[in-house]
Symmetry: C2
Subunit: 174 residues, 2 copies
Amino acid sequence: MAAYQAPALARLIDQFNRLPGIGAKSAQRLAYYVLSMSKEDAEALSKAITDAHSSIHKCAKCCNLTDDVLCPVCKSPTRDKTTVCVVEEPKDVAAFEKTQEYSATYHVLHGVISPLNGIGPDQLCIKELIKRVQEDNVQEVIMATNATAEGETTAVYISRLLKPLGVKVTRLAY
Amino acid sequence: MAAYQAPALARLIDQFNRLPGIGAKSAQRLAYYVLSMSKEDAEALSKAITDAHSSIHKCAKCCNLTDDVLCPVCKSPTRDKTTVCVVEEPKDVAAFEKTQEYSATYHVLHGVISPLNGIGPDQLCIKELIKRVQEDNVQEVIMATNATAEGETTAVYISRLLKPLGVKVTRLAY
């Protein structure tokens, strides 16, 4: 913390600097911007962070982020529950939904198998997917993990777990 | 707000999206990152925003941002109070202080004269500078506004106000 900087300002810059993709200069710029905001706007930003953090959790069915027991897609009566599209992250659901072409459901893994980063199958939402296939009337699982080495590995790993359950497993073409 | 997104998450993405330099994709990435933070970290970020916003204001002397009546530079007994370096923004003070070569004081204008953006001399901390030169024993004012058309105009404008007060006015070489 620089001596010429007020501690509260230095703390705010440091907090922004911890966010991904925000370097020292951007953090400073954001902190000064926050100070220039109206009291209401600064409080709205602060409250949005705590509100989202306390109210958002994983959907009991598909593990996408939601503030309810089930996410809007899993709750929807018009969605085809027999088909599940497996994606890596919640942002992938957002990308699919933007196309407005997909009318079935999702399953969010929250990552990919990545031994180099110490992420194994147990840290992902794979057991929730297996349980869904076993208990619900799922007929097709579309593996839509990214076309990276880790995404492919994860798709192959999950496919092998699902095939004995008698469900059709397909891989999304890129 | 997309129907598939929880309202608290959509609000957080929207709040990040309002910050300068944060587009729709970065806002989404930051929001998901906040959700992945520990409760303590999310609260620390939220609190840093409200704390900084409520405790930081302009130094009564130099208009730099501080959480005290006077900023650390103006309070320091070792700083040369007879020389004042006039800068546009608080971040310029941070840049000067990083060089550790400057041992006098600053004056922060909080902008430049910019008729196109509707910013006239009255919206800047110019009257505070004039008051300082009149009342304190200021002997030299160094104009360190940026080498842009607006920065130059502001430097010339302030120089004309200061010269009749018998103070030495110099322009920082770039």
